[in-house]
């Protein structure tokens, strides 16, 4: 167990900088998820922690030790790869035991440790099989067992679930979370899937173009995004962004699930409690419990998520109402969140006491 600290980490390839001066503290025992679109530098960051990629500048610390110059095998970390990366010519037992043997663990201890881990991940009946004779889920377990058996300070996982089918992925997600609780080690997990990030992480690091956009707990990330990127990256469907009503320098954002669709017949106007956008429904997606409505308004197309108790037909003229308390304000140029002064943006109409 150890905390991991990145100080001003930069990684450049030939003429391109893919990680730009990242500072990050990963607390001991946390489940930290690095999330971002492909090419944002999350995998490179993980590989630098593993020692598979050299650091162009900056310092990586695992525990109390600066590890920049340590080879991967000496960092006391274990990694689970997207495509499992099992040793194809070895059977499951040898795959799991390989790291132990390279450390000089005795044959007897090896056997005890491997069998113990195999029992935990449910691989005992398969120890004599070759990886090619296993299903995707079983291979994933071998990869996990291979990492666990070394009892490393830090677990590194590079999109470990993306090769599994949806059902198995959900199941493994739960298993990984409980495994983390059981082991209490530091987990660093890379994914491009925000659902994985939100459900598994206790600290989420959102990255874009080699920079960290925000580090926060899942709910904070959802409720208090610090910038447009995070606001639009976290949450599905993405946050709606419209020009603000009173200031050309700012943009407003609101989540599809926080808006309401009202019939055009009801007369409402923007008040100091909510904004109202007039428009018509151009498209509708029914997801089961919820439906997504795409509404073309004077301020652009917005998405509204509503439950399916009442349905609204296409082409209907409607009003989209959003309470001010659910409006986020961003600076148009920097994309940074503008902190709300005293609860709400300046009202457009003088209204009653709220």
């Amino acid at each position: 167990m150890a905390r991991v600290e990145l100080n001003q980490i930069t990684k450049g390839f030939q003429n391109q900088t893919v990680v730009k001066g990242v500072n990050l503290v990963i607390p001991d025992g946390s489940f930290t998820v690095l999330v971002g679109p492909s090419g944002c530098g999350k995998s490179t960051t993980l590989r630098m922690i593993a020692g598979l990629e050299s650091v162009t500048s900056g310092e990586i610390q695992i525990g109390d030790q600066v590890v920049n110059q340590l080879p991967p095998g000496k960092r006391d970390v274990a990694m689970v790869f997207q495509n499992y990366a099992l040793y194809p010519t070895m059977n499951v037992y040898d795959n799991i035991a390989y790291g132990l043997r390279n450390r000089g663990t005795s044959k007897k201890d090896c056997k005890i440790l491997v069998e113990e881990i195999a029992e935990i991940v449910g691989l005992t009946p398969y120890l004599k099989r070759k990886p090619s004779q296993l299903s995707g889920g079983q291979r994933q377990r071998v990869a996990l067992a291979r990492a666990m058996v070394k009892k490393p300070k830090v677990f590194l996982m590079d999109e470990p679930l993306s090769n599994l089918d949806a059902k198995l992925r959900n199941q493994m997600r739960v298993e990984l979370t409980s495994l983390h609780k059981q082991l209490g080690s530091t987990f660093i997990y890379v994914t491009h899937d925000q659902v994985e990030a939100m459900t598994m992480g206790d600290q989420i690091v959102v990255m874009s173009e080699g920079n960290i956009m925000q580090v926060a707990a899942p709910m904070d990330l959802y409720q208090e995004p610090e910038n447009l990127f995070v606001a639009q990256f976290i949450g599905s469907p993405a946050m709606n962004i419209i020009p603000s009503e009173n200031d050309s320098q700012t943009l407003w954002g609101f989540r599809p699930e926080k808006a309401l669709i009202m019939s055009d017949a009801v007369t409402t106007v923007s008040t100091n409690e909510m904004i109202t956008l007039r428009g018509s429904i151009v498209s509708r997606e029914i997801l089961g419990a919820d439906s997504l409505y795409y509404v073309e308004t004077g301020k652009g197309r917005v998405v509204v998520k509503m439950d399916t108790d009442q349905t609204v037909e296409l082409q209907t003229s409607v009003q989209v109402c959003v309470p001010y308390s659910h409006i986020y304000e961003f600076d148009r140029d920097s994309g940074n969140r503008v902190q709300r002064r005293e609860g709400k943006p300046a009202p457009t109409l003088a209204g009653g006491m709220v």
Binding site: A50, G51, G73, Y87, Y98, N102
Partner: protein, 275 residues
């Protein structure tokens, strides 16, 4: 295409395959049959197919016409020794070419490919002079050392090493394996089909090689089997083709046996497979 058309095509395919097969099998069959004939039968015209009585005697004659046990032993030492040396040099070289970035890598690899294109007849003279400098002419070393680094082997192994996914090697690095260990415990087992194929080619080539031992050796004690068998022609006076063919049978037999058992590996090495 109709059902009839497809059947016809299949038949044409079969006829072609059988034809080509016969062309390759016939010389072996002829050698085999001749080895069991008597002298008059060999020269009989029109030639007969089957020997009237099977002359096992021919083999005894061939075997006792010279120190054949020594020849067989020398052939084995040369073929196996060369293979081991090629393996010890080729695996690290191929691993470096496949997996490392270093200055002059492409130039060096090009150079080793050029070695692939130059036949031994072109370079035997300087190699002979070099061997004689070292006092190795007329020893088995002169038959082994010049072939120690095989460009063909390095090329084949490099191709096979390049197909190994990066992650597998990275996983091994995280498992605290040294480069040396990765090479021998991960890469070499993965390249097994290629190694077997290359081993066969190399073994057959050096087992059969006539030219190089002919130049490098003068005395019976270091001669190899092909030289011994060619000397059957001279030793017996007149061409006793039945005895010569019996000798050739002894030369070819081990190779046929090996080939028979390793067929599957040879096919595997040339057909890409993902397992």
């Amino acid at each position: 295409m109709g059902h009839v058309g497809r059947t016809t095509l299949k038949m044409v395919e079969w006829i072609l395959l059988i034809g080509v097969g016969l062309v390759f099998v016939f010389p072996f069959l002829w050698m085999f049959l001749t080895a069991f004939k008597t002298m008059p039968e060999v020269y009989q015209f029109p030639p007969s197919w089957w020997p009237e009585s099977w002359q096992v005697e021919n083999f005894r004659k061939a075997w006792s016409s010279g120190p054949f046990l020594t020849y067989v032993w020398n052939s084995l030492v040369v073929a196996v020794g060369t293979l081991i040396l090629q393996f010890l040099i080729g695996v690290p070289a191929a691993y470096a070419f496949a997996r490392y970035r270093f200055k002059g890598k492409n130039a060096l690899f090009g150079l080793s490919l050029i070695a692939l294109m130059i036949p031994s007849q072109v370079i035997f003279l300087p190699v002979y002079v070099q061997m004689s400098h070292w006092g190795l002419v007329d020893t088995l070393w002169a038959l082994i050392l010049p072939f120690g680094a095989s460009a063909f082997g390095i090329f084949l192994l490099r191709q096979s090493f390049m197909q190994v996914p990066d992650e597998v090697i990275e996983a091994a690095r995280l498992d605290n394996a040294s480069e040396w260990k990765i090479m021998w415990t991960i890469m070499v087992p993965l390249a097994k089909p290629v190694l077997v194929t290359f081993g066969l080619f190399s073994f057959i080539y050096h087992w059969n090689d006539y030219f190089w031992p002919l130049i490098m050796t003068n005395s019976d004690s270091v001669r190899t089997l092909p030289i011994g068998i060619s000397m059957l022609k001279a030793a017996e006076g007149g061409k006793q083709w039945n005895v010569i063919m019996a000798g050739n049978m002894m030369l070819v037999f081990p190779i046929l046996v090996v080939f028979f058992f390793a067929q599957r590996h040879i096919i595997n090495a040339f057909v890409y497979q993902s397992k």
